[in-house]
Amino acid sequence: MTGIGGLDNILNGGIPLGNTVLVTGTVGTGKTTIGMEFLVRGAQKGENCAFITVTEPSAKLIENMRTYDFFDDELIKAGKLHIFDLHVIYDHLGLEWGEYEIRDMDILLGAFEDIVDELSITRLVIDSITAICYQLQNRSAIRKFIFDLGKFLSTFGCTTFLISETVIEAGVEKYSVFGVEEAISDGIMLLGNINRKGDLLRTIQVVKMRGTPHSRAKHVSDLTPDGMAIVPLLKWGSDMY
């Protein structure tokens, strides 16, 4: 059970343990929020959780999350919720931000592995995987990186959200910038909007999830102070595509 209202119903119980899930969508669709809520719900149940932030500094992230009631600083103090700045990890490792060598990739993977192993992390969020992928030289490097990452996370039984951005290419929405992230993930959750007469409704859809029979229908979501809430999209109100 993720503990996120409504999501466990769509998933028919929750995300199978150790799955690596691509949480993808366009800007401002709630990817960071759902990632943080996933961790908070886990930490409240006593799990050890970690958020690796790449796109924004951790102080900024925490400040944004404090606007929600569900976010609880005490979980951080209690050592149940850890927030890491990727840039800080880089400094520790002596890595340069920019294009990496294969060797640097292995060092980074090793660092993620240490975090998960040493802190017994069972829920991990990387926000975003797209930002990390931008630094890898090519598709095969990205494929190897995500594959290796997913492999060790599943051996550790660590359920992971890899946050990604969708891109529109030739009018078609792709789940990830490089196209390999989604193939390697065990699950894909797509966050988006539908346009109803000029008004945007937030939507969430589980496109794939290995190991559970789930609903593939588009749902409407809302970001409440308590986190994400979800209802089915009305049939006559869906968009054309």
Partner: protein
């Protein structure tokens, strides 16, 4: 008997929890709304959520207070203020950008219901004819179906108000079919009675769909 007295008499015959279709003519619409909310708040002592897709919450709150209805236990969902560009800072109020965002209205309602402190709660939806202005008929009918069943499952005292002259015929029939009880207020369609009130208070067989 005044309209208020008549409505109250009919409401007293209803069970503690129902899905009520409050069908009023234009002229008596506000009185019907206020009399019903007055009954829920002052008589039954229910708190609840008032959903407005017709007028801004600030107006409604003033009108309620002026009629002796305390609004401390009433939360609101407002889907009109963005359309008319007013201030969206009322207390205990959730805002939805437009009456066409029906699913978002349901989500805001769920959230507001959780904040209501009284043990028994009502939901008052103002109004079905207001929604009909902004939504395709098929979508609105699907919504009414989902919404009324959802409210019934949660055992909430639910009132769906609609102005008779402005309710599309199909929507009206669906409301009659899906609601447990109906109260008719004012002149019925076609008739031009001046102070005619007192609809039949037709009571449907319970259960709906």
């Amino acid at each position: 008997m005044t309209i208020e007295e008549d409505i109250k008499k009919q409401l007293e015959k209803l069970p503690d929890s129902t899905i009520l279709y409050l069908n009023s003519d234009t002229k008596n619409y506000y009185r019907a709304m206020l009399a019903t909310v007055d009954f829920l708040v002052n008589k039954l002592k229910y708190g609840g959520v008032y959903i407005s897709s017709t007028r801004p919450v600030s107006d409604i709150r003033i009108q309620m207070e002026a009629s002796g209805i305390p609004t401390g236990d009433i939360h609101f969902v407002d889907s009109v203020i963005y359309l008319i560009g007013g201030e969206s800072r009322e207390e205990r109020t959730a805002y939805v950008e437009s009456p066409s965002m029906l699913e978002t209205i349901m989500l805001k309602l769920d959230w507001q219901l959780k904040q209501v402190g009284t043990p028994e709660k009502f939901v008052f939806f103002d109004s079905m004819n207001g929604l009909a202005v902004y939504n395709e008929e098929k979508l609105l009918m699907e919504f009414i179906h989902v919404f009324s069943n959802n409210m019934r499952m949660q055992d909430l005292y639910t009132v769906l108000i609609s102005v008779r002259e402005q309710t599309p015929a199909n929507v009206d029939s669906l409301l009659r079919l899906n609601c447990d009880d109906i109260i008719e207020v004012g002149a019925s369609q076609g008739k031009v009675e001046e102070e005619a009130v007192i609809g039949g208070g037709a009571k449907l067989e319970r259960g709906g769909t």
